[in-house]
Symmetry: C2
Subunit: 265 residues, 2 copies
Amino acid sequence: MRNVRLEIAYDGSRFFGWQRQEGFPSVQEALEDAYRCLTGDTVVVHGAGRTDTGVHALRQVAHLHVETKLDDDRLRHALNAHVAPGVVVRRLETCRDDFHARFDARGKRYMYLVATTRFRPPFGEKLMHWCEQPLDLVRMRAAADAFVGEHDFSALASAGSPRKSNVRRIRSLHFLARRERFAFVVEGDGFLYNMVRTIAGTLLDVGRGKLEPRAVHEILASRDRKLAGPTAPPEGLYLVSVLYDESVFPRRDRGPRGAPGVFQY
Amino acid sequence: MRNVRLEIAYDGSRFFGWQRQEGFPSVQEALEDAYRCLTGDTVVVHGAGRTDTGVHALRQVAHLHVETKLDDDRLRHALNAHVAPGVVVRRLETCRDDFHARFDARGKRYMYLVATTRFRPPFGEKLMHWCEQPLDLVRMRAAADAFVGEHDFSALASAGSPRKSNVRRIRSLHFLARRERFAFVVEGDGFLYNMVRTIAGTLLDVGRGKLEPRAVHEILASRDRKLAGPTAPPEGLYLVSVLYDESVFPRRDRGPRGAPGVFQY
């Protein structure tokens, strides 16, 4: 029996989210089924976090306990050969027995990708959010700074499972822009339910002129979800990476790649 | 009654090719249906050329005769609002009554897009051809030069409708490469059935070491389809643009854009 850690990319438009649910294909199920196909064994794949229907991942992290003679490299290849299309195991390695993808995570990085083309994108329309209206990126950048730091994010979270505290720390929020696409990348030690999508919806309202950049401070202070922008649609959202202590998992490659479109973040 | 010229992008993986066929959704049908939805009128949309199932277009050209009070700009918007997802009318303009998208075409430009990632791409797998084996781009570039110019391309065409001559002129064939993707773009005054896909299959065989670059001369001279490489799959192929006399249609924008992936050609 050994514990293996996976880094997984997936196209969220092909699944009903990460978590296994009876009757709805999920990424977790796709991986568990691939392993059972391969070995006959039933396993549980523990993800670092759930992603909702339509939300993509470039490097979701998961762990599972396996009993197989296949070494890491062969196991990764075999899983990739059996897993449903739209899922790829990018990295697989044997790790400490007590590594836990969720409990050991120290933070997450998400990207929200927006197309600002004049026309609805004919390619990959489920891989980005299309905004028809013109957006003012200067205003959006100004508003974004207000989110950075430690705040009570009650105004930017959907009602989900009750939590002890809605205080979270955003370490950075920056923009990438190229031609008619842009993305913002946000890193934090944790995120409330729908928090990144509500930040996206709020920033888009600022970009459209519906909200002033300085309003973000008031929205945060109000803790009132009704003041923030709408929850932006899932197709623009990517879980870019899950962050662990470097000592536990030295990064082999700098920066996760493989995002569709112009951003190979 | 006026004649309008369209430039259309489409995701070929969502259609059974360009041409209308009973019971199989096609791009032509999607456009004709959109126009009928809008006006109640039945029209025929004439394309510059057919594309097969799975083959994409960045700027396919078509014309149709319409009787509507909508001006060009509104007609384009209205068509885009009604047409099936995966099709976008990028440009629409009233043109000479006798303009014919197919008969007036002076050439075409195609792109073949290849992903050379270590793993099957989780995103947009139907928008490019994935090659697992390493490819030697230097060899491929050397082989590509042999296709340029006027040749009898019998060795590189699938048996299709009989034609007077299999001589065609390729004006240019060049490569674009970035990170783990590359494409070649080929421009010619005309192409035989499956010719670009067979050129792609032959170049990929050269890249893999199955064929020598100099073999291309012999393959062309043989006129024997069995000597060339296989017909590469449709998902990598894009009709980039259709070329007309500049005097007839001055280009408003330089170079068609909007290809998925790293190539915004």
